[in-house]
Symmetry: none
Subunit: 462 residues, 2 copies
């Protein structure tokens, strides 16, 4: 009976979390601007209530009772992960959790205005407040070698700053050389006008399976995706005259959304029914961004969609443009080769901010470009680069198992890719943590070499 | 301190209710169809949680403690209304509440199929079940003169069947004569094409204050409105080639939304911070529908917006068409004069069904058109007609105070109307029940005479 009570509570928490995602999606795509303060209250209430329901004494009682029962299969996994989450959540006082949520939501509102006004000073107080709260948050835990690890565990349980530094260490030197070597001024292909991009994005997503029955595509300043329910997937993108970000971002977000959609149905509305970590999540978006959208064969699919949208697309020029190495100050429009270097930088900065006493500067070129610190998310950035690395590692394993995908990709036939990902990665939900999942899927721990091989091939392909 | 705990709980319930409205809005305007089952889970979880948090023993404890404290002003009102809501909610056993919820949801599903098949017999068992449950529900309460009054209190606290019968008694005879007299086949004006309506609706709403900073206008099968927060108001409408419903519905929903928006800010996130009753809410929508949108002077504003949208609008023809009396079997497309007669009929029927032993008949022309009884909502209908009456009464009082509004309405200048409504009606939130509010605003109890005068003027204006 006790497992029934625990499962019911997990279903409730899963629903509250879905409502949180819906409210956040709405805030960034639909909400009239004046709704901001009210939305902050609503999100804070959801967060506080979820925290209370996740950490109630009754949950502790159920767990204790269940830990002495001979459970098997999913039930045993539900209890194992529930215990981990319960212990972590109990260490954060409800008031601190609510305050973090409120500061995050407020910070995001402030960030939007500050970014528009190019005014870092307007953001600084919110940033400072978020940092204080992050340090308080880290101080709630013990059993971690250092404060940053305690924060990282919220995004990638089991990873440590030391492990990230080791992997980034393999990466940074060779990648920086590669970028320096490769950065030559390849002529940029003409960029399709916004109208053609607006026609192409839904057309390309529809061909790889994002039908109107279960998907939405909207516009937001910062592209993102949510699964509001397992059959309600929403991606956003943004359209600019100056680059083809729209298609790339849409494929990226499609990868995130597909992950949530392909989790085993029996994990739905349990605590196992979401992606396992930020890094693995990001590996799914990066797989579709780097290894599908930027694949030379898939350029045909994009070109066809642009042509139908009124812009005669040339696959070869398109692909050349999509993989050109053009170092930029802006992370989200960085080229696929230099991209991880943006992250290594942010990782080192946030490590110093959280642990090293680095003060929030009065000004910083480019700090307004990302919402993460404004929203209090310290420990989140590494996943962006780890995602690139894991994606490359998964893609090598996938092609080892299935053979080269060129033919299918040229026809937008991604059934085999979807199937492989479902089997090796998606269906497990939270049953496997980041590094065990990578080992399960590829036979090896996380490593930088596959990404470096991929980057070299892009540079060579120019 | 206890008042702090109570206020905090009320704020939480207010936020949960806002999230419920957001999720329902999304379901009807944005959600991919496949999201339906997941959304039902999410809404059921919110409902269950809100009920639990509203009826917990701790709430009873706070109320008892507070009732012996010398509270003043808003705090005293918060406690008074919280006690009323708490006692009403606690009197309904959880199992009965769940059964009512289930029967309502089942009934609605059955109704949709029955309506499509035009098959009343298919609905009859669900209707019978809803009626049994409504009688059981009514029996939970004492202190009411009759069972119907106990149900009515959920929609319009303080009103009674006897009072409704008295007011409808003044109305029905004269109105029926007026309709019989007036029904002549006035030629319908040509209806603007959908494109012109789509341009006109936001233009008209913008002119009366629905700016993009705090409002959204979307499309849904059945027009509705929600206030997600006090500065986040959303109305929907629908567009048809065959009539000008779109503009009328948008103004109607604007009235509902404006009510929620103009409640005194100090009542926000308390249990007093919403509209006081179904009748008063409906009076606000009907005021903007009948007395603004159908005002001869405002026809100029609508005509200008249609003209800008590419359909040369003629104010006189437009107004004639908007007030023409054309009796119909369908309530929602009834003209503004005969509309309340649809409601008087339904009220007498549901009163007899709940109390009089009237059996659910084997067949009934038109009963399938409305979802209310199928969903178990007995006691809801009167508010539709009372709303018309109260709107007319308020409008007379408003013009008595401010003078005729013709000049302002021709220029879409509604500042004085908004201000008067804010002061006399909106700002009070739930502090005044239906009839006390009407007395406060107009100096008299509810009465039918002002609506009859209004109806005569419409008929005379043809």
């Amino acid at each position: 009976m006790t497992i029934g009570a625990l499962r019911e509570r997990m279903a409730e928490l899963s629903d509250l979390s879905a409502l949180s995602r819906l409210a956040a999606w709405d805030q960034r795509t639909m909400m009239p601007p004046a709704g901001g303060p009210g939305r902050s209250d609503q999100l804070a209430t959801l967060e506080r209530l979820a925290h209370e329901r996740a950490t109630g004494d009754e949950v502790g009682g159920w767990l204790e009772a269940l830990e002495s029962e001979p459970l098997e299969g999913i039930d045993a996994e539900i209890v194992r992960i529930a215990r981990r989450d319960f212990d972590r959540a109990r260490r954060v006082p409800g008031e601190l959790a609510a305050e973090i949520e409120r500061a995050s939501s407020d910070g995001e509102t402030v960030w939007q205005a500050a970014r528009e006004a190019n005014d870092f000073a307007a953001l600084a107080p919110a940033l400072r407040r978020n940092l204080e709260l992050a340090r308080e948050h880290a101080a709630c835990f013990d059993g971690f070698a250092r404060p940053y690890d305690a924060l990282l565990a919220d995004y990638d349980f089991g990873l440590t700053a030391a492990r990230v530094q080791a992997v980034f260490g393999e990466l940074a030197g060779p990648l920086a050389s590669l970028v320096a070597e490769a950065s030559s001024g390849a002529a940029a292909a003409p960029v399709p006008p916004v109208a053609a991009q607006q026609a192409a994005v839904p057309a390309v997503l529809a061909r790889i399976g994002a039908d109107e029955e279960g998907w939405r595509i909207d516009v937001s300043a910062h592209p993102f995706s949510v699964g509001v329910g397992s059959r309600d997937s929403r991606v956003t993108t943004r359209y600019e005259e100056s680059d083809l970000l729209s298609v790339i971002a849409a494929l990226h977000e499609f990868g995130h959304a597909l992950y949530e959609r392909q989790i085993a149905p029996e994990l739905a509305r349990t605590n196992l029914g979401t992606g396992t970590s930020m890094s693995v999540h990001e590996s799914q978006s990066k797989l579709w961004e780097n290894h599908v959208a930027r694949h030379p064969a898939f350029a045909t699919v994009i070109a066809e969609a642009l042509t139908a949208g009124g812009f005669p697309g040339d696959p070869v020029a398109l692909h050349t443009s999509l993989v050109a190495v053009r170092p930029s100050l802006i992370r989200v429009s960085a080229d696929p080769v230099s991209y991880p270097l943006h992250i290594v930088l942010r990782f080192e900065l946030e490590l110093a901010l959280v642990e090293g006493g680095l003060e929030v500067p009065d000004d910083a070129s480019g700090v307004l470009q990302d919402t993460h610190w404004a929203a209090g998310a310290f420990g989140y950035f590494p996943s962006y680069a780890l995602g690139c690395l894991i994606a490359a590692q998964l893609w090598e394993a996938l092609e080892r198992d299935l053979g080269p995908q060129d033919e299918g990709l040229a026809r937008a036939d991604v059934a085999a890719i979807r199937g492989w990902l479902a089997e090796r990665v998606h269906r497990h939900g939270r049953r496997l943590d980041t590094e065990p999942l990578v080992e399960h899927a590829t036979g090896r721990g996380m490593e930088a070499a596959p990404f470096l091989r991929h980057a070299r091939s892009l540079v060579g392909a120019r």
